[in-house]
Symmetry: C2
DNA sequence: ACACTCCATCGACGACTGTCAATGATCGAG
DNA sequence: CTCGATCATTGACAGTCGTCGATGGAGTGT
């Protein structure tokens, strides 16, 4: 496993158009984008982001994801390690929620927020 | 190879928070984000986006990328097939340029552009 | 015609990824 | 305490990815 369990959310780096990326920044950002580079994980993140109360338990994700429970758990782990989601234990269930700041950070890297040169 | 050479840029899909992703949308978006999920490709894209005249020839990318010429060519191909960059032949050289619209499309998926509900 | 530069493709190899069945750990209910 | 439910972890396997050396094709200059 190449993952060293860094829980820092992706909120490190300058926008892509402003300057050449450092090696460290490129690696951190790549991990974030790689976490989005799978259809199942995008679906999971979409389910979390669109949930009314902001959090969904795993048992309600397995069905829509169309994958086995261990596979869903695996994808959630990757999203968690990329800082894109958080987990909270409530009794027997684990409730996952999207981290808005992390998505916004990645969005910032992809371009200027508005009319910046 | 799982790539079927679709040259359509990534400009297909609704923002992540607005609705659950369809399977097709998730696959297309995942390909776009996966193209960003590698440090070398992020670096290449950064070099293209920060170039003054908007385009860079491959010979000027190999050095900063820190990889062999075939490897750089391979990564540029992936970026091209994801619709994130374009290539133009000028004499012996191939000049690559970032596609601003593609980056903006992915940025839109990551969140509402402004004051959208 | 010839040599040289630039770049894409091929072939190969190790490493990583996505997937599932099986197992283990934790918690609530009875 | 025991049973059942929820979820993470393990082990295994096929497939994909990142990388490089070698090769090939196209264009330029002499």
């Amino acid at each position: 496993m190449a993952l060293e369990l860094l829980d820092q959310p992706v909120e490190c780096c300058p926008p892509l158009q402003s300057a050449a990326l450092s090696d460290a920044d490129a690696r951190t950002l790549a991990r974030g984008f790689a976490a989005l580079g799978d259809p199942v994980r995008l679906r999971l993140l979409s389910l979390l982001a669109t949930s009314t109360d902001g959090a969904v338990c795993v048992c309600d994700l397995v069905g829509p994801a169309g994958r086995s429970q261990p596979t869903v758990s695996h994808h959630l782990r990757i999203l968690r390690e990329a800082g894109l989601v958080t987990v909270e234990k409530r009794g027997t269930n684990n409730w996952y929620a999207a981290v808005p700041g992390a998505l916004e950070a990645l969005r910032t890297v992809l371009g200027a927020p508005a009319g910046v040169v």
